[in-house]
């Protein structure tokens, strides 16, 4: 694996509380799963860094090798790989994701739910 890419991933996940590797950008996701991941983080009111893997072919494969995870999006919190969109959704629905963010002292501004 390209060491430059590994270094870049390491620097990103260690210097940002929450990083989402995704297809497209948070404003223009290019895949439904990435869009769902952005939506969950937005609902939680979490500041995150979105990294568009479509803008960089080396990174697109590199992040899969780094996480040993074959699909995108991929969520990192405080340098730890949390999972993809399905795991994020399950954890969000069970409240586990909210607890994890609180435990890791990541600030959230939960919007009042409309329901």
């Amino acid at each position: 694996m390209d060491t430059m890419i590994v270094e870049r991933i390491r620097a990103d996940v260690n210097s940002n509380d929450v990083v989402l590797y995704m297809k497209g950008t948070p404003v223009f996701p290019q895949c439904g799963f990435s869009a769902q991941a952005v939506q969950i983080l937005t609902m939680l009111g979490v500041q995150f860094k979105g990294v568009d893997v479509l803008a960089d072919t080396g990174l697109r494969q590199g992040i899969k090798d780094f996480s040993k995870w074959p699909t995108l999006p991929q969520l990192y919190i405080k340098g730890e790989f949390i999972g993809g969109c399905d795991i994020m959704r399950e954890m969000f629905q069970s409240g586990e994701l909210q607890r994890l963010l609180a435990d890791k002292k990541v600030p959230t501004e939960q919007k009042k739910s409309i329901a």
């Binding site: 799963f33 040993k68 995870w69």
Partner: protein
């Protein structure tokens, strides 16, 4: 190139023989699936590891040949 539901079932059961696999072809195009896999082999494993076991069973096809596989996993006794 997409992949048939039977092929996905076969690969998962090859790796996890006790698995109960519920598979939905979301768009009828053999390329966007939703899968729920239940297996005793998941007992004691983290959710990430459970998903990795399914991805491994598919031998690199998830995220490659199959564009989309929405995945949930559980053990036989747990509810989901």
């Amino acid at each position: 190139m997409p992949m048939s539901a039977e092929e996905i079932q076969r690969l998962i059961k090859e790796a996890l023989p006790d698995a109960r696999v519920e598979l939905k072809d979301l768009r009828g195009d053999n390329d966007h699936y939703q899968a729920h896999v239940e297996s005793a082999a998941f007992c004691g494993k983290s959710r990430i590891d459970q998903h990795r076991m399914v991805y491994e069973a598919l031998q690199g096809r998830a995220g490659g040949l199959v564009h989309a596989l929405a995945l949930t996993t559980s053990t036989p006794t747990s509810t989901h």
